[in-house]
Subunit: 313 residues, 2 copies
């Protein structure tokens, strides 16, 4: 059974999850793909996965997006620390689809599944925080090829989220404004890290980018991730499509992680704007980062933004 | 010029270091070695490196270990935040040497160089902290094959070190004992995470291990890293030799990082024992870790310790 441990010196949180070691992989150690074999996530293989928790069908009744419990969960129910649910969301039925070739409609189906599973996990007993993330290619931690995302409910609030919320709370008490709102205004004034903007979203290369070509999609308004309307979801799909077209033009296909930072349970009023991180994994964290926790980034975000801005024309 | 930035939301520290992007590499993107070419770190190529800062010679006057400034530094002098010095220590003259085939004497020469450069950098103006680390193989962030380590003086104290020191200080005020001493006693009593022990060092698999097969070499006494006597250095060389023989027996050669956590400048009296971390890089940090800062480890440290204990017999 998984166990949550805390380092008494660094306060770092670790989940010891033995079940994970058994999970299958499509990749060799060098990151190259194994010979073709049965994909568990393709159409027609539904019986190879645990029972479905959500699906969206096309007009012929065939699924486009579906989700189910992860067979090799990071967390599970009945832990001493509370329950955790870990699900897989298959982004799209197409085995060869990726963020680099999905259309706006396909992004929208995926985001509808994100929202549905987010609400389901958020409302589960003992959930303190829900983490949504995606690993693309082996270098970013993917073990299977077929495009998929993951969602986990946690019985704790991660330290990193607590730190963000505390800083935002302090800022709000001191300045009477949400830190994200001030950041958006200042980035817009400065201009050299804003990649593009829509009515409700702004895409930036963060000032303290830890990863080469890192970006953030920030929701500009107050509100919860799970409260996104259909119109907002369509707009976010367009943002994804626009951002990944630019990424593709600059870097081709590359390993990346996507993840959401949003309000914890019972902290819905926190002065905090939910946002999505995209972290390309083209550089490598080495001994200096592990030793000091200080990240080294050899591509200034201003340069990354400039390239991504130009790539949109 | 490198610039130290702080994320206002997460407090995370980042160094934007453009010069690093120019550094050469012995590896292809998939981690395999490029065709043989001139190694900058081998004997006879001394003119290809910046001027030597330290060396130990053999009886014929040929160097065994040497150090010099890093040509592609993470930090440099004249930064707005203060100075930083970044040096390379060539662990051994042998191109094919590694921690898996070095003998006790070779470990000792390397550690003597660590100590010499540590003292030199520690005593440099504006140094707040000195980081010593090693990246072995591309998957652990090495860009060159020849066995080498790195040392950096920082004009700031890394957050992770401040957190460790604060926790140790609080513990000491509350309990009147150094947290490391209590940890050592408790680990010894429990026994299932202690790999081996010598007069002055204990080698453990930490309770909250973040990486598969992670270990720590903890110095058991009060004292500074730079105050190690010749006898203690010999003992530590034996510890390295013993630990990496065990590692080799269990895992073969594998990518890893080594790093030191020690007292910051002007905090020499902190109730803190210096220690070395060895973090194998056989697993991959993915979206969940990036999103939450919570590490997932699918090999319990008790199991890692058991394997490493058996491998010594």
């Amino acid at each position: 059974m998984p166990e949550i441990r805390k380092d008494p010196f660094t306060d770092e949180q670790v989940i010891i999850a033995m079940e994970r070691a058994k999970r299958p992989t499509d990749f060799h150690d060098d990151g190259s793909n194994k010979e073709e074999k049965t994909c568990f996530f393709c159409r027609g293989r539904e019986k190879l996965t645990p029972s479905e928790t959500f699906r969206i069908d096309d007009d012929n009744g065939e699924w486009i997006v579906r989700s189910f419990p992860n067979k090799f969960p990071i967390l599970c129910s009945d832990m001493t620390d509370g329950n955790g649910i870990h699900e897989v969301i298959v982004d799209n039925c197409g085995h060869d689809k990726s963020f680099f070739n999905m259309n706006i409609k396909e992004f929208k189906y995926m985001l509808l599944a994100y929202k549905n599973r987010y609400i389901a996990l958020y409302n589960t007993a003992s959930t303190q925080y829900v983490s949504v993330f995606k690993n693309y290619l082996k270098k970013a931690g993917a073990s299977l090829d077929h495009p998929h995302s993951q969602i986990i409910s946690l019985p704790i609030i991660p330290n990193i989220i607590m730190t963000e919320l505390n800083n935002c709370k302090k800022f709000y008490e001191y300045r009477g404004e949400i830190m994200h709102q001030v950041l958006i205004r200042e980035e817009r004034d400065k201009g050299d890290r804003v990649i593009f903007e829509t009515d409700n979203f702004i895409v930036i290369a963060p000032f303290a980018s830890k990863y080469n070509y890192e970006t953030q999609i920030i929701y500009k308004n107050k509100g919860l991730f799970q409260s996104m309307t259909d119109r907002i979801i369509t707009e976010l799909s367009e943002v994804f499509f626009g951002l990944f077209s630019r990424y593709g033009n600059v870097l081709g296909r590359f390993p990346f992680n996507l993840f959401l930072h949003a309000h914890p349970n019972l902290m819905e009023d926190a002065p905090y704007n939910w946002h999505l991180h995209i972290t390309p994994r083209v550089s490598q964290q080495a001994g200096f980062e592990l030793s000091t926790g200080i990240y080294v980034n050899d591509i200034p975000p201003e340069k990354a933004a400039k390239l991504l801005i130009s790539a949109g024309h």
